[in-house]
Amino acid sequence: MISTVYEKEKREMRQVYAETILELAKANPEVIALEADLMSAITTNKIKAEIPNQLINSGIMEANMMGVAAGLSLTGKIPYVHTFGQFATRRTFDQLFVSGGYAKTNIKILGSDAGITAEHNGGTHMTFEDIGLMRLVPQAHVYEASDSTMLGYLLRRIEKEHGIHYIRTIRKNAVKLYEENETFEDGKGKLLRDGCDVTIIATGIMVAEALQAADILERQGIHAAVIDMYSIKPIDAELITEYAQKTKAIVTAENHNVIGGLGSAVSEVLAENHPVPMYRIGVREQFGQVGKVDYLKTYYKLTNTDIVEAVQRLIEK
C-alpha cells in the first residue's frame, strides 16, 4: 500500500482497460475484445484502428454478445467482453450462466460503472446486484478492482486462466492504493492496515472510505484493520477468520446491495468458521437513481462516517 494520502489517480480505469486490451491483443492473436455499443464510454474506440480484427462492436445486443463470446472460446479464442455492469450481468444472466458457466467455456467479463458511479444514468443503469448474481455462477471468479494497478494486473492474469471471470470496476479515476509492482492473486485479500479492535473489509470505491474511517477511528483510540477484499469469489476465508479471531468485530463496506455481495460472502465465512459481531455497510432494499456520487454516497449511507458509526455501535455492544 502506498500512503495514507487519498489521492485520485491520473489514469482512468477505462484507460487501463483499453490499454491493457491493446497490449494483450497485440501479444496474442487469440484475444478478442467484444463491445456492445459502449466503446466510447470505455475508450476502446481509441484502440480500434490498431486491432481492427480483435475488437468487435457487437451492437446493442448484450445477450447475443455473451453467446458469441462463448462460441469464440470454443475454438480457442480468449474473449474479453465489456459493457456496463448491469447489462453484463442482469441483462445476459442466462446466456452467461448456460453458454458460459454451465458449458464451461472461457469468458472474461468487465462490468463498468460500478454501483453509484453510474451517476446521471440513474436507476436503469445502476447495479447493486452484479456481484451477487455472478457469485451464484458455480466456479465463476468474481473481483472488484479498487485501483488501476489492480485492474491492469487482474486483466493480464485472467488471460491465462480458463473459466468465467467477472471484474467490476468504475470507469473513471480511482483512489491510488497500490504500487505498480503489486500482485493480486485469486482468492486473496490485501491487508492494507493492521489493527486490533475491529476489521473493516471493503471493495472498490469503499476501500478508500474504509481507510478514511480507520484514520478517524484511530483518533478516537480505536485501532481498525482494513482489508481490500478484491477477490470476492473465491474469498480469502483464512484471512477473514484470522481477523475475526484477532479483532472480534467486522464491518464490511460495499457499493452494492448488502444481499449477495461482499457482506454476504464475509458473513457466510464467519457464520461457518468463527461468528463475531458484524455489520454490513451497503445498499439496503433500494434501487438506483440519478445523482452525483457524493449525493448518492450520503443517500445510500456509503460514507466513511457511516463506517465509523457502524464500528462504534459494534464496539459498544
Binding site: D37, N57, V290, G291
Partner: protein, 281 residues
C-alpha cells in the same frame, strides 16, 4: 390537424429541450432532438390525453422505449401542461423527478419506466394487448431507436404484436442512422427497416421524420386498417432541427465545448425569436 398549431408546438418542445439540456450542461442531445416532430404530432394532435389527469383511463399510452430521449419527452410533457416548465431545470439534479431515463413512478405523464434498451417496446405490446383483450379504444404509441433495434427483444415483441394483430399499436422507428459509437451501418447494418417490419407482419410506411404533416398522414393511414400493428419508419437526423448539432459527428451524448455552447445558445435564441414573432404577427 391544425398544422400551424402543431408546428408551433414542435418549436416550443425543441426550444425547451435545448434549454433543459443547456441548463444541465450535458446530455443526450442527438436522440432527444430527432423525436421532437413525432412528439409534437402525438401530443399536439393525435393522442387522447389529459395533462390534468395523467392516469385518465381512456387515455392513449406513450412509451419512449429509447429512454435516453427522456429530455425531449419531458419538454413535450411540460409544454403540454403536465407539470410546470421550470421543473425542466431540475433534469438530473440530485433528488429530481426528471432523471435521464423516464421513470413512471416519478414523472406525471410517463407511462412506463425505460432506459434499458429493448424493454419499452415489450411493455408497449403488453399495454396494446390488454386494451385489445378488454375491447377498449385506447391506442399505444411507442418510439424505438434504430440502434435499439439491435436488441433481439424488440424483434420478439414485433413477432408477438403481429401474431396478436395489435392494430392499436403504433411503433415509430427513429431511423437517425446513428447509435452510441457511430453509424448504425458500421456497427450493425440495419439493411432495410421498412422491409424488415413489413416481413414481420406490420403495416409499414416510411416518412420524413422532420415533417409533422407527413408523420400525421402516416398515422392516419395506419389507423384506417384494423388488421396489423403499425410501423412508421422515421427518416430523421440525429440532432435534428439544429444544423450545427446535426453536423456534429459525435452527437449522442454531448458535453458542449465553447463552440458547441455558442451554437446551442444561438439555436435557443433563434427559436425564441421565431416563437415571439409568431405571437406578434
Amino acid at each position: 390537424m391544425d398544422l400551424e398549431k402543431v408546428e408551433r408546438f414542435r418549436d416550443e418542445i425543441r426550444l425547451k429541450t435545448l434549454q433543459e439540456l443547456h441548463h444541465l450542461g450535458f446530455g443526450h442531445y442527438g436522440g432527444s432532438l430527432s423525436i421532437i416532430e413525432t412528439l409534437a404530432v402525438l401530443y399536439g394532435d393525435v393522442m387522447q390525453v389529459n395533462p390534468t389527469d395523467p392516469m385518465w383511463e381512456d387515455r392513449d399510452y406513450f412509451i419512449l422505449s429509447k429512454g435516453h430521449g427522456g429530455p425531449g419527452l419531458y419538454a413535450a410533457l411540460a409544454v403540454k401542461g403536465y407539470f410546470p416548465e421550470e421543473m425542466l431545470y431540475t433534469l438530473n439534479q440530485n433528488g429530481t423527478k426528471l432523471p435521464s431515463h423516464p421513470d413512471k413512478n416519478l414523472t406525471p405523464g410517463v407511462d412506463m419506466t425505460t432506459g434499458s434498451l429493448g424493454q419499452g417496446i415489450s411493455a408497449a405490446v403488453g399495454v396494446a394487448l390488454s386494451h385489445k383483450l378488454s375491447e377498449r379504444k385506447n391506442k399505444t404509441f411507442c418510439i424505438v431507436g434504430d440502434g435499439e433495434l439491435n436488441e433481439g427483444q424488440c424483434w420478439e415483441a414485433f413477432q408477438f404484436a403481429a401474431h396478436h394483430k395489435l392494430h392499436n399499436l403504433f411503433v415509430f422507428v427513429d431511423d437517425n442512422k446513428k447509435q452510441l459509437d457511430g453509424l448504425t451501418k458500421d456497427i450493425i447494418d440495419p439493411i432495410d427497416f421498412a422491409a424488415k417490419m413489413d416481413a414481420f407482419g406490420f403495416y409499414t410506411c416510411k416518412v420524413d421524420g422532420s415533417d409533422v404533416g407527413d408523420i400525421h398522414q402516416a398515422i392516419l393511414q395506419g389507423m384506417n386498417q384494423k388488421e396489423k400493428p403499425v410501423a412508421i419508419i422515421l427518416d430523421t437526423i440525429k440532432g435534428q432541427g439544429v444544423r450545427y448539432l446535426e453536423e456534429l459527428a459525435d452527437n449522442h451524448h454531448i458535453r458542449p465545448n465553447e463552440s458547441d455552447t455558442a451554437a446551442i445558445e444561438q439555436a435557443i435564441h433563434e427559436l425564441e425569436t421565431k416563437l415571439k414573432q409568431e405571437v406578434g404577427g
